[in-house]
Symmetry: C2
Subunit: 331 residues, 2 copies
């Protein structure tokens, strides 16, 4: 069917091993031979079969990228960047969606294991224990989570949260609420402790509301609690929650940012398109995707014996959903 190394060998009049080396270790082949082989290969349209190669080398040159929900706008930029960078490094990537199901996640990883050199896990739903166990069989990089022995890419949401608190304090807000994310979310914990500390420093009252579902629906559901809490500003777990909150608040007659300021997290398209445009903490998702692949390939090269960590900076993007606290002249 397809043209193999043998066809090239025959057509060139050399042994298959010579053809093989022409591609995998060119310096072991004399220049004239190499050129002849390459010419013939090009003419025949020969492409090495990666799967066959993987059989002997143990390197598939494939990666797995597992996310909980492709349709969540947080992920596509990360996927896009990871995939583009992997391609630069001559890797192909399997993308899979676990639909937030830990069971499916583990099974998926197991069936993928033989076909990839490593896996990037973004916001995994598995327990740390399960991940550590899997980590023994295959290199992993986790994003926004910490697992013993594995490389990790962390977005410094803590710093972003501080910036947001300071921004709100500067606008004259004295009491703010934090809409926490799902139970067990690493980033939600980071936000909580950073917000607590920053609020203390700025002498603000901080109320934590949640856990909340990380969706628009979760934001809508939290609207009443926010209004009743008496705060004048809110930091939501992510943009979707913030958008839902604004919608829910609107139905209760509370205007954003007139009556209440709202800060989102992620800086997704959704936040940019929302009216009012969301003030939000920018998460460097493309950089996270690239870095995760980078760390993973590093781990692959070292046979997963080292665990590196990268922390990526976040920033605050001020747009229209935050304003001076009611009854204040502003910053």
């Amino acid at each position: 069917m397809a043209v193999t190394i043998r066809d090239v060998a025959r057509a060139t009049g050399v042994h298959v091993s010579t053809v093989s080396r022409t591609f995998s270790a060119p310096n072991l082949v004399s220049t004239p031979t190499r050129e002849r082989v390459m010419a013939v290969a090009a003419e025949l349209g020969y492409r090495p079969n990666r799967a066959a190669r993987a059989l002997t080398t143990g390197r598939t040159h494939n990666l797995g990228l597992i996310v909980s929900d492709i349709a969540n706008p947080f992920f596509p930029p990360l996927i896009k960047a990871a995939q583009a960078y992997a391609r630069e490094r001559e890797y192909h990537v399997f993308v899979a969606d676990t639909d937030e199901d830990p069971q499916a996640e583990e099974e998926l990883i197991r069936t993928l294991a033989k076909q990839v050199d490593g896996v990037v896990l973004v916001a995994p739903r598995l327990t740390n224990q399960a991940i550590e166990r899997l980590g023994l069989e295959l290199p992993f990089v986790v994003v926004n989570r910490r697992v013993k022995g594995l490389s990790a890419v962390l977005m410094d949401i803590g710093h972003g949260t501080e910036l947001a608190v300071e921004h709100l304090a500067g606008l004259g807000h004295r009491g703010i609420a934090l809409l926490a994310g799902p139970r067990g979310s690493w980033s939600s914990e980071q936000m909580k402790s950073a917000a607590t500390e920053a609020a203390r420093r700025a002498d603000l009252r901080l109320t934590v509301i949640g856990p909340n579902a990380p969706t628009e629906r979760g934001g809508i559901a939290a609207a009443a609690a926010v209004r009743d809490s008496g705060v004048t500003a809110v930091i939501a777990y992510n943009d979707l929650v913030a958008i839902g909150l604004i919608e829910g608040l609107g139905e209760l007659g509370t205007e954003v940012p007139g009556d209440l300021s709202v800060v989102g997290v992620d800086d997704t398209v959704a936040g940019r398109l929302n009216r009012p445009k969301l003030t939000t903490i920018l998460m460097p998702t493309p950089a996270a995707g690239r870095t995760a692949v980078d760390l993973l390939l590093q781990a692959v090269d070292e046979d997963g014996r080292t665990a590196a960590q990268a922390t990526l900076a976040t920033d605050l993007v001020v747009r229209e959903s935050t304003a001076a606290a009611p009854g204040t002249t502003g910053a």
Copy 2:
């Protein structure tokens, strides 16, 4: 390293071929033997190596899914559905983004070719000729495009466009504009001819503006032309363009839907979140993803000798960006 068929054979005391058949053709193995093998395999944690299997069977059980831009909100639901459905059928999927670059697209397909049984091409940027050529080597399914000899999934945007035109006519609009998509876009052509026909029937004046970039920016850029065209309603190439248009119009002092009605296409999250919420033509992207995979696996089974076509229904979702024409009492 990992446990192979040989380990299982040794531990069970049978030949490797028996173990192989236990998994790939269980009915050729006696019940007691089969059970023994399965027990041992389970205990050892044996998992067949798909890559090795692919070498002899010629079936990798992998699929490729190629899109122009993962970050465009039109794609994620399609990717999600395709991937989920493929998994049900025991296929893994490589997802790749071409960044709208035809060159990269072709190269990508070529390197992927040996590792997949077929490829789904969504809105490919390649010429028909190039695709047809590639189609000789590998089964393909194209989405929203027609290529001779290849299976296709088409979303009936024509019907959705008719619905939109009728909806606008019902609201009392007498002159409408169509913001066309990029040159050579199949769906833009469909929209154009459907809109022309529907406008004729409803006795409306139709102005085609474009081509336009399929992005928010494209919409913003078209705002002035739309205002100057004197129409009272617009059907935009997609939600992003519609959103950009609304923004651009706003800056020119034209209110939507008060002064002018806007209809988008795709029904992405972006449209749902936009203020005003977009009236839009719903594209069945999840169904398209599933159907594409279905058709592809069909083509794979038949060795790509047949080309099936599936047409998926679209619908009009009426929300807030359309209203009665100025100076009318409405429907």
